[in-house]
């Protein structure tokens, strides 16, 4: 064997020494990607910043440099109030979502609530549905006189007037909190599950009871997870457009997002003022996200040991049935009830706040789904088609981008990696509607304007960090040595990527793809700024119907969108297993 060794090593004799190459496969790919990401993310924001310093004159065409837009932010009659409303809504939603998220997570991860394994996927559903559709459903459930629940309360329980009213800020808080509760849930349940039980055991052995242990050991350890979730919910609520648009803005309570929308495409369109407002909103949300990423998220890994184990489970005794009821109640209220309401309303030709069996018809579905019929509504049928295309193409492109970006952040060192890390946080911090305005202003002179491409660009720019985070979390768990050993075995950077890194990242890639697919399918804020006839998306279709047609048609399309999303969730969960769809 030893003689063979010497002779046999002829296979790997480099002919000459190679010059240290600046142009390696790796460096080319990373530079190209950095440029693309920087252009996609920074450019629109830069354009927005510049626009905010240009003040529109009364004619509406010319603008001059000035700070008036920022002055208007606090002198205008409506804008400061909108700002306050945004804070109220965000704070309220955060509290509500945190309450639901933490309690459900605790029940699911730490108690002997019966059937909790089966319940988990249902707890997550609200996050994947469209909050805009949720607002529409709740408007029909509890929006003043026309609310189904109010109507039933009057008919069956003898109430007078309206028991519930969601057509106000409270309604916005309710719907937003309900739909974002799964975000907090995911952060907290992950934290609870990864926790080393010996941390609690050691407290118990010193004599601390269940409650004390939970308060003094468990809670502080989970606190980073709760805080992370809360911040994410706060930021997402601040940037949420569809819910306040439906439930509060029409009745006088504006939020920053509805005001920005109004400044972009309302009667008083003033895109420069809208840009200034976007800056105000964006800076706050970016700061919060940055804090969350930098200081809070890393701390939640302190309990990870990598060994699998079962954490402590608390026996609730007879209270376990109450926990089950609570969990089922949450699912009923957040998922079943709204869907039921949409179904009921959608079967009527005209909604008169009560079920009229004689009127029930499927005609609304025909009009929004059957594109070959003469009485179809183009915005709706286009919407389904376009949204699917955008979702497929967008998720795929975004995941490819995320892959390279994640690789750069976690496997290369130096300035480029840190810059990219920061760039990945930025889009999450800016509301969709803000980014879309920037994209519009930046690309209006290019051929992609008024096509599906500009919407695709908006989607990918705004949401690729979600995909990137999925990959990153898997990548962090994969030791760098797995890549290094491939290099030492003789494989080039690209071959290593292809044969080792990507196959190992498959779960993260798939999970990210699915998440993005679903997000794109239900996206509203970006589409609504960038669409034109022929490029409507599903949510734009719903928006169109709610503006120009009536509640019943709106409900029909909303129902269709919800059904599609539900199918996606379940099919993908089936195919990908339990770990998919954990954001």
């Amino acid at each position: 064997m030893s003689t063979q060794t010497l002779a046999g090593s002829a296979s790997a004799q480099p002919a000459t020494s190679r010059w240290r190459s600046l142009v390696t496969q790796e460096s080319v790919a990373t530079v190209v990607v950095s440029v693309i990401v920087a252009a996609a993310v920074i450019l629109p924001l830069l354009v927005l910043v510049i626009s905010s310093f240009r003040v529109l004159d009364t004619g509406g065409f010319d603008s001059t440099w000035g700070l008036d837009n920022y002055r208007t932010l606090y002198t205008d009659r409506v804008i400061p109030k909108a700002f306050v409303n945004t804070l109220i809504v965000s704070a309220g939603s955060t509290v509500l979502a945190t309450f639901f998220g933490v309690t459900l997570a605790w029940i699911n991860a730490r108690t002997n609530c019966p059937g909790r394994d089966k319940l988990e996927p249902y707890n997550l559903i609200p996050f994947f549905l469209s909050p805009f559709v949720g607002a529409i459903a709740w408007h029909n459930l509890a929006g003043g006189h026309t609310g189904l629940l109010n109507s039933w309360a009057r008919d069956f329980l003898g109430f007078h007037g309206n028991v519930l009213n969601v057509d106000n800020l409270y309604g916005v808080i309710w719907v937003t909190g309900l739909f974002f509760a799964p975000l907090v849930y995911l952060f907290v349940v992950g934290s609870l599950r990864r926790m080393d039980p010996s941390l609690e055991d050691s407290a118990r052995t010193t004599g601390a009871g269940l409650w004390r242990t939970a308060m003094t050991v468990t809670l502080p350890l989970v606190a980073p997870g709760i805080l992370s979730g809360a911040i994410i919910v706060f930021v997402t609520s601040a940037g949420e457009f569809g819910v306040p648009f439906k439930l509060s803005a029409p009745y006088g309570w504006q939020t920053l997002t509805t005001q920005i929308f109004s400044k972009a495409v309302g009667d008083d369109a003033n895109i420069n003022l809208g840009a200034a407002m976007s800056m105000a909103l964006g800076i706050i949300t970016i700061m919060l996200i940055w804090i969350q990423q930098r200081y809070i998220a890393p701390r939640s890994f302190t309990t990870v040991t990598g060994k699998g184990f079962r954490p402590n489970v608390i026996d609730l005794g007879r209270w376990k049935w109450a926990a089950l009821a609570y969990n089922i109640g949450f699912i009923l209220i957040s998922v079943v009830l709204p869907i039921l309401c949409l179904l009921i309303v959608s079967l009527h030709p005209v909604w008169q706040a009560e079920i009229i069996p004689a009127d029930l018809t499927l005609h609304n579905y025909v009009r929004v789904l059957f594109w070959w019929r003469p009485d179809h509504i183009a915005a709706a049928t286009n919407g389904i088609y376009n949204s699917f295309i955008l979702a497929f193409a967008g998720a795929t492109i975004a995941m490819i981008l995320s892959l390279v970006v994640s690789y750069m952040i976690h496997r290369t060192k130096g300035m480029g990696a840190r810059l990219l890390d920061f760039l990945c946080v930025v889009p999450v911090g800016f509301p969709g509607i803000v980014l879309a305005m920037g994209v519009l202003l930046t690309y209006i002179r290019t051929p992609i304007y008024a096509t599906l491409w500009i919407i695709l660009l908006g989607y990918i720019t705004r949401f690729f960090p979600y995909g990137q985070r999925n990959i990153s979390s898997v990548m962090l768990a994969i030791s760098e040595e797995l890549d290094q050993s491939s290099r030492m075995a003789g494989a080039s950077w690209f071959t290593t990527l292809r044969r080792i890194t990507i196959p190992l990242l498959k779960p993260g890639i798939f999970a990210g793809w699915v998440l993005l697919f679903i997000i794109f399918l239900r996206e509203l804020s970006i589409s609504i700024i960038l669409y034109t006839s022929g490029t409507e998306t599903l949510s734009v279709g719903v928006y169109y119907l709610t503006n120009y047609e009536n509640e019943t048609l709106t409900s029909a399309l909303s129902m269709a969108q919800t059904v599609v999303l539900l199918i996606c969730i379940f099919v993908f969960r089936r195919v990908a297993g339990r770990e998919a769809l954990t954001a």
Binding site: F61, T146, V265, A358, T361
Partner: protein
């Protein structure tokens, strides 16, 4: 037949009837021979056909109306089966915003803009943003448009139609059985407390213009707002949403709504015609003329000009009048029978506008602030 089947049947009939009626009208005009077209139309046809498409940006035309207009347009001028007619429907603000952006960027996807926004059209035409029109039909409209106090700016800006806000109510709601309205006093009675809607002036110029026009005609707005406020109205600005409130009895009376919306609901459920009622204001109906213009630099200028001609012609007018229940200022024009149920007789109704729509814009801020201080 059960009532449900009856309703279904009527529904199907109504749904077929509308396009059928239109088809009849269209085929009537389809037999139009080349000599029936005006020289201006003839001059544009070949170029329009070559261009192959046209995009109309507007807040008015629903899907069905858009479809009918498209089909009739293509048929009338024989533009061929490959001609694409795009009806891009966006809100009043959005249509103006998009056009403005496209003009500033020099990038045009919409050929025609039709919306009630005199201020914008004035400003834009001063900047030379519109194509010069040579219209054979405009002269039929000019007089009526002026008489109704509407803004136009031929040869750049024409007014093919107008809509107006009328009182609409649901007579099947409790307390509304004997209600009727023919004056502003009728819709502001104290007994109507909890039954009214206040249209949000800060959200749409059309409400602002309506208010200013009434003021110019002598109405005391302070008084109007105070009385309205006393009825504890619900604030909303989207016409469709307000119609929903009427239909569901949440707020059975809206003083400023469109009969066109009533028509849409009747199409969906014919019984609605019995319960949804509307009136006209003797103080005057403020006509909100929709300006139309062809954008300079648009991809299909000739098709666009031809479409404007079509809108100004009788066959074209018939279609959107029936489809959306709007008013045409064409001389000696009688709306088709289907529409007459929803349109008041223009000869017998007092129609008002504004002397200077452009100057009125300067008054918006004060008007809105005033309204806001009372209602918000």
């Amino acid at each position: 037949m059960s009532s449900r089947q009856k309703a279904r049947a009527f529904f199907k009939i109504a749904l077929i009837a509308a396009p059928l009626t239109a088809a009849v009208l269209v085929s009537a005009t389809a037999t139009v021979k080349a000599d029936d077209l005006t020289p201006q139309e003839k001059a544009l046809v070949a170029a329009a056909k070559a261009e192959g498409a046209v995009t109309v940006l507007n807040p008015q035309f629903s899907d069905s109306t858009g479809q009918l207009l498209g089909e009739a347009f293509i048929k009338r001028y024989n533009l061929g089966p490959n001609f694409k007619f795009n009806n891009l429907r966006k809100g009043t603000g959005a249509t103006v915003a998009q056009t403005r952006q496209e003009i500033q960027a020099g990038k045009h996807t919409a050929d025609i803009l039709i919306v009630s926004a005199p201020g914008f059209f004035d400003e834009a035409s001063k900047r030379g943003a519109f194509e010069k029109l040579d219209s054979g039909y405009w002269k039929n409209h000019e007089e009526g448009v002026k008489a109704a106090g509407q803004y136009s700016n031929y040869p750049y800006v024409v007014v093919p139609f107008a809509y107006t806000f009328q009182p609409v109510w649901n007579s099947s709601c409790p307390g509304m059985e004997h209600f009727s309205a023919s004056s502003y006093a009728d819709v502001l009675k104290p007994e109507l407390k909890g039954k009214t809607i206040a249209s949000d002036l800060t959200k749409s110029f059309t409400y602002d213009n309506t208010a200013l026009s009434l003021k110019e005609a002598g109405m005391n707005l302070d008084d109007l707002w105070t009385k309205l406020k006393a009825t504890d109205p619900l604030i909303e600005f989207r016409t469709e949403a307000k119609m929903q409130m009427i239909v569901s009895c949440q707020r059975p009376l809206d003083m400023w709504n469109l009969t066109g919306r009533v028509y849409q609901d009747v199409l969906k459920k014919p019984d609605m015609f019995k319960i949804l009622k509307f009136g006209t204001y003797k103080e005057g109906q403020v006509m909100l003329g929709n300006q139309a213009a062809v954008i300079k630099g648009a991809p299909h200028p000739n098709a666009a000009k031809l479409f404007i001609e079509f809108l100004l012609s009788k066959p074209g007018t018939d279609i959107f009048v029936v489809g959306e229940m709007m008013y045409s200022f064409m001389k000696d024009y009688t709306p088709p029978p289907e529409a007459q149920k929803y349109l008041f007789d223009m000869k017998k109704t007092k129609m008002i506008g504004l002397k200077d729509w452009i100057a009125a814009q300067a008054k918006f801020k004060e008007l809105r602030a005033d309204w806001q201080s009372k209602f918000q």
